[in-house]
Subunit: 164 residues, 2 copies
DNA sequence: CCAAATCCTTGAAAATGTCAATCATTTATT
DNA sequence: AATAAATGATTGACATTTTCAAGGATTTGG
């Protein structure tokens, strides 16, 4: 489930920070939800210029790597239903940003790879997304950002093979 | 504040951890989304026993404080549309867990307060939710959890606050 | 007093999430 | 090798959630 921000992007900070006294303000889950919601808003705003949202951007980014992900892998990795992946790729494919290729060893699979146009769009979108991230975390020191990233990675990939 | 991370990761993998090589695996926004999704799942599972979800639990928790929040404040604080607050409170009120009281100085407002039954349910649900949080973050050291909480709080409210 | 703004509520439309069934293909079993 | 079981992609139906716009009640500002 997702908490979504209905605030304008430039809208002034927290109108009712009075409730921040509540005990749930210390719940990591609650803080995570709030931060994620605010970040999504900024991210989607930054990506709108390229006709992308967080979802399609993620798929495009994964298609731009040289990993040749199958749709099933994308669904698992992004924690989405396979049918949602179909819709996302349909759109990206119609825009000529990605291609479906039959799996090499398994013809049921469809490998998703970015076109050169897709790579171009992705490079530009990535810049915008990273700028949005920097802005969103501008109140943190570089050390804090690094710690946050490391802790998040450790938690997300726990019990997994070592990440990048 | 000391921010340190034990970055030793090992173990056997999730089905598609292969894609973790991708660059988006380092995006704070992406990690936030994944961690939030996983946490929500655990949270909702823990709260189901009490007929609550993250949303209704949050509202109930805020109603249990002595802050007498108005619905507008709840909407702002939880980043939800006011109409969603109406539905959440309707349900909690029908179950006898919270009450709507007319605002003291402004009769348009409705102050939301928990009943004693609501407080009882909340106390039990809080235990379950906190246990779920502990389980979710079990791969982190106490120090890392404290750092995470502090950094999240600082970012969300753009003001530093001491962790518990 | 009047106009504008605010709070809650309702309802409808759009976007998302969830699930079951299907076809083509692969894997496992006999 | 033949058959059964399992898997990947796709479609479509259905429920839930988000997002808007409008309305009645009340307050605020001129």
């Amino acid at each position: 489930m997702t908490l979504q921000v209905n605030d304008g992007i430039e809208g002034a900070g927290e109108p009712s920070a009075r409730l921040a006294e509540s005990t749930i303000s210390n719940d990591v889950g609650f803080l995570l939800a709030k931060l994620h919601a605010a970040g999504s808003l900024l991210n989607n705003a930054a990506l709108a210029e390229f006709g992308l949202k967080e979802r399609s951007y993620s798929v495009l980014a994964l298609a731009c790597g040289n990993l040749g992900p199958t749709q099933r892998e994308l669904a698992d990795f992004l924690s989405l239903d396979p049918s949602q992946i179909v819709a996302l790729i349909d759109e990206l494919e119609q825009r000529g940003l990605v291609e479906r290729k039959p799996g090499i060893s398994d013809r049921r699979q469809k490998l998703v790879t970015a076109t050169s146009e897709g790579r171009r769009i992705h490079a530009a979108a990535q810049k915008a997304a990273q700028a949005a991230e920097v802005a969103h975390l501008s109140m943190l020191t570089a050390q804090e950002v690094a710690s946050l990233r490391a802790i998040l990675r450790k938690t997300v990939w726990a019990a997994d093979a070592p990440g990048p």
